[in-house]
Symmetry: C2
Subunit: 161 residues, 2 copies
Amino acid sequence: MKAFQDYYPDDLAWCYGCGRLNEAGLHIRSFWEGEEAVARFDPRPYHMAIPGYVYGGLIASLIDCHCTGTAAAAAYLHEGRKMGTEPALRFVTASLHVDYLKPTPLGVTLEVRARVKEIKGRKVVVEARLLANGEVTARGEVVAVRMPDTMVPRAKSAEEA
Amino acid sequence: MKAFQDYYPDDLAWCYGCGRLNEAGLHIRSFWEGEEAVARFDPRPYHMAIPGYVYGGLIASLIDCHCTGTAAAAAYLHEGRKMGTEPALRFVTASLHVDYLKPTPLGVTLEVRARVKEIKGRKVVVEARLLANGEVTARGEVVAVRMPDTMVPRAKSAEEA
């Protein structure tokens, strides 16, 4: 099954969090499950805050990439288009908010579940919750905006990747 | 010169973002410069959002760890104690907010500059800005709280690190 991120055009598929072409990256992958978008992720042992608990920056990254991916998927739906059709709909993060409700245990598969709260013009607001062992340990909200046309990949760094 | 993070006790120095003992980690290091705390960081080439620009999750991580470190340093000052004295003051993130103002270029040293906005009880609020080439590209705010006594390192994972 193809993830939202599998539809990103090649030149926009290098994100450290979710780009399929970034070999060093996290490869976050998102799918619809009913009205929610879900990503599952197994942190590596070194992704810790303190021993036994997941690093908050990783949690922020999971929420960020999953929500911008969800924004793209929702925008295609909103326009009645299939994902992957041109022009590509790719979103960047305008703002990210995360509330860490309790420590997130390391060693279990994490689940990020997101819902679209608002679609308006070039903006999509997505809210997410992070679950470990079925328990919500963090909540987040991302304001995603269509990638500005001025933000084009800079070729030099792509070659360095 | 010792960074704030160099004073963390060994069992709390495993953070992927800023723990000196986490070999796979980012090793974010923070220092006072007058009333501001500053961390400088060189993203690796693969820390990209799209080619040429820094990954937002890394920016969130830099702000997160730098601000919790600043919270600890400020709490010691507030109590009139030297960093590293017992009992250790170590903070976790209750909430993290980041506004991405413009794309952050990859390939230059990033600077995170933080200021304490409020210290009250176990809570420290820290605001930060991220600069690239001297230009502010993101702003953040972290609500840091003293690590709860119940959140003790889980030995098993420490061995796996």
